[in-house]
C-alpha cells in the first residue's frame, strides 16, 4: 500500500494551485512604483573594437532617463568566476576580465555595450536605435581547434592564447593508461561532439533593481536558482555592497536547468543603475535576447578510447576533449568539463585506469556553463557510446558487455581511479528492471514488424552514474571552488505548533513546497499542512547555496533534517519537564511526546505552546522558543545511477527518427515523493531526447548564432515525445546523508542521450553506420546513411 502522507507518499503539489489559477508571482509580474525600463544594446558582431559611442542623439529621445556605457562601470568590478581550475602543469587557468558592459571590445554576439534606461521599454528601444556605436569588426574565432592554432586571433588580448587551461586527470595514471592501451586485446575509439545547447527555461531572465537612498539598502529581484550566491558574487565582487545592505529575491522562477545559477551582468547592472537613476530599474529579456545572453551548455569535442581484454573486461579509458568556454568564464564554467566530467569517466564499471585530458578554449561565442547534468551528460555520452561501439566490434551484446564490467554490489564502497568513492549501488538490479520494463525480450518481434513497414528499428541501452549533492566543502575547495557547498535550514516552530521552514534550496519547478513538509511531518508525526516552506529571499533565510546539481533534497533536505533533529531534542526536554520525566524516556510519535512504557503523554502543540508561553518551563536550564538552524555539509557526493533503453524506428528514405518507446530504471536511493521523482525523470528525458534528436546551437564562421529563436532552435514538442516508462523501485539508499536520498533532477538528461543514439546506430548498423553526431536530425541521419553507402 502506498503511503498517504509523509515520506514516500505522493500528495498533490500545493504550489500548483497558484500556478494553475494564474496567481504565480514571477519576477516579470513584479512592477515597482516609479520603475524605469532597461534596454540592453548588444553587439551584433562576434568580435570588435569599440571606437566610439555617441549617446547625444539617443539621450534626447522621448522618455530617456539615462544611457549607460562601459565608461560608467570603470572602477566597478567584473562578473566573477566561481571556480578556479589548475592545469596539468600546476598553473592557474587563464581568467579574463568580464566587465558588466563592454570595455573597449566586444567578444560575442550579444555582449552588452550600452543600456538605455527610459520611462517605457518601447522608448528605451527607440532611443537605442539612434545610439551611435562605431565598432570595428575584427576576425572572430568560433571553432575550438582553430582557436588553439598558433597565430589564431585571441579572444582576449591580455591572455597568452585562447587556451583557458589544459587539464589532465589523473595525471599520475597517464603512463599506466598508455601501457594498458599498448597491451590491450582490443581498442575501440570514437570521435564525437556533444552538441551545444541552450537551456531555454520557459521564463526568460528578468532583473529588477531597487535602491532606498535613506537606508542605503539595495534590493534585486531576479530569476535565480540561488539568490544568496548572487548576493555573494554581486555584492562582494562586482558592486561592493555588504550583505546586510543587499537583499536578493528570487520569487517564482519559471525553470532554471542550470542557466539561472550564474550571476549575470544584467543583475549587476539593474542594481547599480537603480542607485544611479534613483528609481527602480527593470529588465526583462526577450527570448531572442536569452539566446545570446544566457549561458549555453555542453559543446565538447571528444576523442575517447576504450581498451578491453580478450574477455571484454575494460582495462583503461583515455579521452581527449576540447571544451568550449565561450568568450568569458561564466560562474561555474571551469568546473563543468573538469571535476564534473573527468571524475565520472569510470562510469558504472571496474575500469582500473582512466586518463582524461581537457583543454578549455575561449571562442567568440556566448559563455558556456552548466546545463542540466553539467559535465556528467558529456561523460556518460562518450563512455556509453564507446562501450556500445566496442560491443559491436567484439561481437558481444551491449548489455552483457556492461554487465561483466559492472562494479558489483559487494564492492561498495568503491574507490574509482578518478577520485570518487561510490558509497552504494546495484547496477545489475537496475539493468534487470530495465530489461523487464522495456520488454527487451520482445524487441526482435517488434523489429520484424517495423521492417514490414519499411522502417529500421533499433534498440539502444546504456547505464549512467552521476555525482550529485555536491559535496564536502573542504574537498571542493581543494578542487578550486571559490564557495562552500553546504546548505542551511531554519526550522521555526510557532507557538501553536505550526512550522515555517527557511531553506536555502530554491524551488523553480521541483516541488519543494510539497516535498520538504513531507519530511518534517514524517519526523514529527504531524500533518503536512502545518508546515510551510520559505525560500528565495536572502532577507529571510540565513544562507543558501541554492538549487543545482540535484542537491536540494540531498543537501538542503539534510540541513532541514538536522535542524528538525535539534528541534526535537529541545522539544523533548520541554516535554520531559511537562511530564515530569527523564529526557531520555521521552518518545515522539504521531505528534505526541510519551514517557516510554507509560500512557503519560503531551501533545506536540502543548509542547510548542509551552516554549512560547513559558509559564511552566525550565527557564533556568533553557531559553524559551523553539527554532533551530542547521548547516549541512555533505560527507561525500551522492551517486544516483540507472539503466535506460530507447527503441526507435528510422525511416531510411528521409532519415526521420521516431522514438517508439523509452524506459528508465533509476536508483535514487530513498524517495520522498514518487510522483515528483517521476516528473523529474520525465523532464530530464525530454531534454535528453531534445539534445539527441533536435537541439543544436549553431554558430556560423563569423560568430552569428544561426539558431537564435524557436524558428530554428528545435525545442522538443509534445508530438516529438513518446510516453515514458520509468521505475525507481531499485533503491540502494545513500549511506552518508540522513534521508538516504541521492537526488533525481539531472538523471534523465544524463542517461537518455546515449540511449537514443545507441538505438539509432543499432537501427542503421547493417548499413554500416557506426556513429552520428547529435542532434540526429533527419538531415544528419540521412546524410550518415548516404556516407555509409
Amino acid at each position: 500500500m502506498p503511503k498517504d502522507h509523509g515520506i514516500g507518499a505522493a500528495p498533490k503539489r500545493r504550489e500548483d494551485v497558484r500556478f494553475l489559477t494564474g496567481k504565480g508571482k514571477y519576477t516579470d509580474d513584479i512592477n515597482l512604483y516609479n520603475q524605469t525600463y532597461a534596454y540592453f544594446v548588444r553587439s551584433d558582431v562576434a568580435h570588435g573594437k569599440i571606437n566610439n559611442i555617441d549617446t547625444k542623439a539617443a539621450q534626447d529621445m522621448p522618455g530617456v532617463v539615462r544611457i549607460f556605457t562601459g565608461a560608467d562601470f570603470e572602477g566597478v568590478g567584473g562578473v566573477p568566476c566561481g571556480w578556479a581550475v589548475t592545469d596539468k602543469h600546476g598553473e592557474p587557468m587563464q581568467e579574463p576580465a568580464h566587465p558588466v558592459l563592454a570595455q573597449g571590445k566586444v567578444r560575442h554576439v550579444g555582449d552588452p555595450i550600452a543600456v538605455v534606461v527610459a520611462e517605457s521599454l518601447a522608448e528605451a528601444r527607440d532611443a537605442a536605435e539612434v545610439l551611435e556605436i562605431d565598432i570595428e569588426e575584427l576576425p572572430a574565432v568560433i571553432d575550438m581547434k582553430a582557436a588553439l592554432e598558433d597565430g589564431a586571433t585571441k579572444v582576449h588580448d591580455d591572455l597568452t592564447s585562447n587556451l583557458c587551461f589544459d587539464w589532465g586527470f589523473v595525471e599520475e595514471n597517464k603512463a599506466a593508461v598508455e601501457e594498458a592501451f599498448q597491451n590491450a586485446h582490443h581498442v575501440t575509439s570514437l570521435e564525437l561532439r556533444n552538441n551545444r545547447l541552450v537551456a531555454n527555461p520557459m521564463e526568460a531572465r528578468v532583473a529588477i533593481g531597487e535602491y532606498d537612498a535613506a537606508s542605503e539598502d539595495y534590493t534585486l529581484y531576479t530569476t535565480s536558482q540561488n539568490p544568496h550566491v548572487i548576493r555573494l558574487l554581486m555584492g562582494a565582487f562586482v558592486l561592493g555592497i555588504p550583505e546586510h545592505k543587499l537583499r536578493v529575491v528570487a520569487p517564482d522562477v519559471g525553470g532554471g536547468f542550470g542557466t539561472k545559477i550564474f550571476h549575470y551582468a544584467e543583475e549587476a547592472f539593474c542594481t547599480f543603475a537603480a542607485k544611479a537613476v534613483g528609481r527602480p530599474v527593470k529588465w526583462s529579456a526577450s527570448r531572442s535576447e536569452a539566446f545570446i545572453s544566457d549561458a549555453h551548455g555542453r559543446d565538447h569535442v571528444t576523442k575517447i578510447e576504450l581498451a578491453l581484454d580478450e574477455n571484454g573486461k575494460f582495462l583503461a579509458v583515455r579521452t581527449d576533449t576540447l571544451a568550449n568556454m565561450g568568450a568569458y568564464l561564466s560562474t561555474f564554467a571551469p568546473s563543468v568539463p573538469t571535476w564534473l566530467h573527468g571524475t565520472l569517466m569510470a562510469g558504472n564499471y571496474t575500469t582500473p585506469l582512466v586518463y582524461v585530458n581537457v583543454r578549455a578554449v575561449f571562442t567568440n561565442t556566448v559563455p558556456v556553463d552548466a546545463y542540466r547534468g553539467a559535465g556528467r551528460p558529456e561523460a556518460t555520452f562518450q563512455l556509453e557510446r564507446v562501450i556500445d561501439k566496442a560491443a559491436r566490434e567484439i561481437g558481444m551484446s551491449p548489455i552483457d558487455l556492461r554487465r561483466i564490467n559492472f562494479i558489483q554490489p559487494d564492492q561498495f564502497p568503491y574507490a574509482t581511479p578518478v577520485a570518487l568513492e561510490y558509497d552504494t549501488g546495484n547496477y545489475g538490479a537496475t539493468m534487470d528492471k530495465l530489461i523487464e520494463i522495456a520488454d527487451i525480450a520482445g524487441f526482435g518481434d517488434r523489429m520484424v514488424e517495423s521492417r514490414k513497414n519499411g522502417k529500421l528499428r533499433g534498440l539502444g541501452v546504456n547505464c549512467y552514474i552521476e555525482a550529485c549533492g555536491i559535496a564536502p566543502s573542504n574537498l571542493v575547495g581543494q578542487l578550486g571552488a571559490r564557495a562552500g557547498l553546504y546548505e542551511s535550514a531554519t526550522v521555526r516552530v510557532n507557538a501553536t505548533g505550526s512550522i515555517s521552514v527557511y531553506t536555502g534550496s530554491h524551488s523553480h519547478g521541483q516541488g519543494h513546497e510539497t516535498t520538504f513538509p513531507q519530511v518534517i511531518a514524517e519526523m514529527l508525526g504531524i500533518d503536512e499542512s502545518m508546515v510551510d516552506i520559505v525560500h528565495g529571499d536572502t532577507s529571510k533565510i540565513p544562507m543558501g547555496m541554492g538549487t543545482y546539481g540535484s542537491r536540494s533534497i540531498a543537501v538542503g533536505g539534510s540541513a532541514m533534517v538536522r535542524a528538525t533533529e535539534k528541534v526535537i531534542a529541545k522539544a523533548k526536554k520541554i516535554a520531559a519537564h511537562l511530564l515530569e520525566a527523564g529526557e531520555g524516556d521521552i518518545e515522539l510519535a504521531n505528534g505526541e511526546f510519551t514517557v516510554a512504557g507509560t500512557d503519560k503523554s503531551v501533545a506536540w502543540g502543548d509542547v510548542t505552546l509551552a516554549a512560547y508561553v513559558p509559564h511552566n518551563y525550565p527557564l533556568e536550564d533553557m531559553e524559551p522558543g523553539l527554532e533551530e538552524t542547521a548547516f549541512y555539509d555533505p560527507a561525500n557526493f551522492t551517486y544516483p545511477s540507472g539503466a535506460y533503453a530507447c527503441e526507435v524506428e528510422v525511416d531510411p528514405e528521409t532519415g526521420k527518427v521516431e522514438i517508439c518507446s523509452f524506459a528508465a530504471a533509476d536508483d535514487f536511493g530513498n524517495i520522498i515523493n514518487p510522483m515528483i521523482v517521476d516528473g523529474q525523470v520525465h523532464g530530464g528525458i525530454g531534454q535528453g531526447i531534445g539534445q539527441a534528436l533536435l537541439e543544436h546551437a549553431i554558430y556560423d564562421e563569423n560568430g552569428q548564432l544561426l539558431t537564435g529563436s524557436y524558428m530554428d532552435y528545435a525545442m522538443p514538442r509534445a508530438s516529438d515525445m513518446p510516453s515514458f516508462s520509468v521505475d525507481h523501485s531499485c533503491q540502494t539508499p545513500c549511506t552518508h546523508n540522513p534521508l538516504g536520498v541521492k537526488g533525481c533532477g539531472e538523471a534523465g538528461a544524463i542517461g537518455s542521450p546515449p540511449a537514443v543514439v545507441n538505438a539509432v546506430v543499432d537501427a542503421l548498423a547493417d548499413l554500416g553506420v557506426t556513429h552520428i553526431d547529435m542532434p540526429l536530425s533527419p538531415n544528419n541521419v540521412w546524410s550518415a546513411i548516404q556516407a555509409a553507402k
Binding site: 528601444r125 528514405e653 528521409t654 532519415g655 544561426l706 524558428m711 516529438d720 536530425s777 533527419p778
Partner: protein, 260 residues
C-alpha cells in the same frame, strides 16, 4: 514594435482605399506579420485588418470549384474544405492550433514564404487567386521567395480551387518552425497531373514538370523511379542540405502519388 494606426474596414472597397497610402499594410491573421513587426523588421504606419470583411470569409463549392475567402482562417478551411480532402489535411497541419485559428489563406499566399504550405496547394490545384482588381492564375502568381504578382495595396479576396480528381500533400516538418522543410502537393486535375514543391527551391514554390510528364504517362509512383532531382538551386540551411532536400522532393512525391 513601432507604433502604427490600426484600422478595421468592413468592406473590400474601404480596405483598398485605406491601403492606397504607401506605408499602409494589410493584416490577415498576423501570425507572420506581427512577429516580424515585433522584431522591428516591418514598420507600416497603418495596419488594415481584413478580418472584418464578411465577404472574404468562408468556403463554398459550386460548379466544380471551391472558393475560399481570402480572410478564411486555416482552421476554418480544415473544418469546411471537405470537397478537397488534401486541402483539409494541409490546412489542419499548418503551424499549430492557435496559429490556425488566426492565420488566413490570403495572408499565407500573399506572403509566399518559401516554406509555406498553401503555395504548393494553389500551384498544384491550378488555383485562381482572386484579388480586389483581377484574377491571377497560380502559375502566374508566385514570383520567387516572398515574391508575388500582387501590386501594392492589392488584396487577395478569394482563392478558387477547381476540384481535382484526387490530391495529396506530403509535408516534411522543419522541426523547429513547423514550416515545411519540404512539402510536395500532387493533384490529379482535369488538365493532368500537377506536382508542386515547397520548401525546397531557392526560387520558392515550383512545379516539378518532369514528374508531371512521367505521371501523365503512367499515373503510379513507379513512374518516378527514373527521375533524379538535382540539388542545384535547392535551399541549403542548418536543417537540410541541398542534397537532402532534393532527396525529399523525390521521396515525398512518390508518397503523395501512392496516397492519391
Amino acid at each position: 514594435m513601432y507604433d502604427f494606426e490600426f484600422k478595421k474596414p468592413g468592406s473590400i472597397k474601404a480596405a483598398v482605399a485605406m491601403l492606397e497610402s504607401e506605408d499602409a499594410q494589410a493584416l490577415g491573421g498576423g501570425q507572420t506579420l506581427i512577429p516580424t513587426m515585433k522584431q522591428r523588421l516591418a514598420s507600416p504606419a497603418v495596419l488594415v485588418s481584413l478580418a472584418g470583411i464578411a465577404k472574404m470569409q468562408g468556403v463554398n463549392v459550386a460548379n466544380g470549384v471551391m472558393t475560399i475567402g481570402g480572410a478564411t482562417t486555416h482552421a476554418d478551411v480544415a473544418a469546411n474544405a471537405q470537397a478537397i480532402p488534401a486541402l483539409v489535411a494541409l490546412a489542419g497541419h499548418i503551424g499549430d492550433p492557435a496559429v490556425r485559428n488566426r492565420g488566413t489563406i490570403g495572408g499565407s499566399l500573399a506572403n509566399n514564404d518559401p516554406s509555406a504550405d498553401y503555395p504548393a496547394a494553389a500551384l498544384a490545384l491550378n488555383a485562381t487567386i482572386v484579388t480586389d482588381r483581377r484574377k491571377i492564375a497560380a502559375d502566374d502568381f508566385f514570383d520567387g521567395m516572398f515574391g508575388t504578382a500582387l501590386e501594392n495595396g492589392e488584396i487577395i479576396t478569394a482563392v478558387r480551387f477547381p476540384l481535382p480528381k484526387a490530391a495529396n500533400y506530403q509535408k516534411f516538418l522543419q522541426p523547429a518552425s513547423r514550416f515545411a522543410l519540404t512539402g510536395v502537393f500532387v493533384a490529379d486535375t482535369k488538365d493532368g497531373m500537377r506536382v508542386a514543391v515547397t520548401g525546397a527551391s531557392e526560387e520558392g514554390v515550383y512545379r516539378w514538370t518532369e514528374a508531371e510528364s512521367a505521371l501523365n504517362d503512367t499515373p503510379e509512383a513507379s513512374a518516378l523511379d527514373g527521375l533524379s532531382v538535382s540539388p542545384d538551386g535547392m535551399i541549403e540551411d542548418l536543417h537540410g542540405t541541398a542534397a537532402y532536400r532534393a532527396n525529399l522532393v523525390g521521396v515525398l512525391t512518390k508518397r503523395a502519388v501512392t496516397a492519391l
